[in-house]
Symmetry: C2
Subunit: 215 residues, 2 copies
């Protein structure tokens, strides 16, 4: 019985996700689903992009968190349209939450809809939100073993952002092991190395978003 219920939940989510995908496509909006561990720097990557892209592409953000509106406040301070979705302790976003959040935006004025998922390397991976591309973020301080330990995310990501590379001199992070384990999970996957603190890689990150915004 339990398995049937889980399957039903996933089926309903997939149907709703398809609706979100069609709704975004109709308005010419590309959806991105950002997934990472808590504290890997997703919000800072979005803030940095907003400050550097100068309004092209036009970005809006849906912020997912178990609690608080801290992240939405940071995005609003950058001048981008944003909606906070609190999961009330829940561990991931689902398509119905995204669908409702879309009501708060004028989709015709948006090129890229960034959906920042709840910080979690496991549960969000199983839930399609209707995005076109999935962005996996991992920071150098989390260790090079994360792709091997959480393979499902890194197999399904369209791009992997290795964040906080300014901290590489101070942490035990082996780039070769990291890159090799990614290659095993998904040969040829694009990796962008970024530090929002030093600015290194920010232009490559913005370029990726510009290309994504063209659909």
């Amino acid at each position: 019985m339990e398995i049937n219920v889980v399957e039903k939940v996933m089926k309903v989510n997939d149907e709703l996700a398809q609706g979100v995908r069609e709704r975004l496509a109709k308005a010419g909006v590309v959806g991105l689903n950002f997934i990472s561990a808590p504290g890997s720097g997703k919000t800072t990557l979005i803030e940095t992009a907003l400050r550097n892209l100068g309004g092209a592409p036009r970005i809006a953000v849906i912020e997912g968190d178990p609690d608080t509106t801290l992240d939405a406040e940071r995005i609003a301070a950058c001048g981008a349209p944003v909606t906070q979705v609190n999961t009330a302790g829940g561990c991931h976003l689902e398509a119905n939450l995204v669908n409702r959040a879309l009501d708060g935006f004028d989709l015709e004025q948006i090129d890229l809809m960034i959906i920042e998922n709840v910080g979690n390397l496991v549960c969000p991976v199983s839930f399609d939100l209707g995005e076109e591309k999935r962005v996996a973020v991992v920071s150098t301080t989390e260790g090079h073993d994360k792709p091997a330990k959480y393979p499902k995310l890194f197999r399904t990501a369209h791009v992997v952002v290795l964040n906080k590379i300014d901290l590489l001199p101070y942490v035990d992070f082996n780039r070769d092991i990291f890159r090799d384990s990614l290659e095993k999970l998904q040969p040829g996957v694009e990796v962008i190395e970024v530090s929002c603190t030093s600015g290194e890689g920010v232009e490559a990150w913005c370029d990726w978003l510009r290309r994504a915004g063209k659909g």
Copy 2:
């Protein structure tokens, strides 16, 4: 129907957790449940303790991960009894997995059973594993906002380890905001600041484990 199923799962887990608790108590073993985000340094904190405590208290470890035996190999290299539990992509440990893992240990030879949960600040919090105490670990690189965003863990932790304090000069982490938000969630909660890299706070961390090992 879905709610009933979830309630049933939780009820079964709670009963099994009570069994684990009694099994450990009978053998004079204190169970600790380590919960944190991926990459916060749980395994390194355990390795550092094993290398500094010199066998008193006698520690054994259950390692939870979605995949790989990387962490169990690190613990075994320190000479401690260890069992890896792979959740096959699952986002948290449950009491039945811990109960089965206990079969692999000679409990009469153990004072402290450390259970390292899957890296995740949400799902593990809802599942009692039969532990006596819950250890929350957060690293400075994750940001000072984590208690506010993930309040349930920090309300229920018996101790909070702030790890990687050697990186404080390089990251945007406000100790006052962190401490204040913890105080709001759980007044008087013990916080131990540690760097396994510089060694700062390691003695306080080992002391806490020595006290915990006395039951």
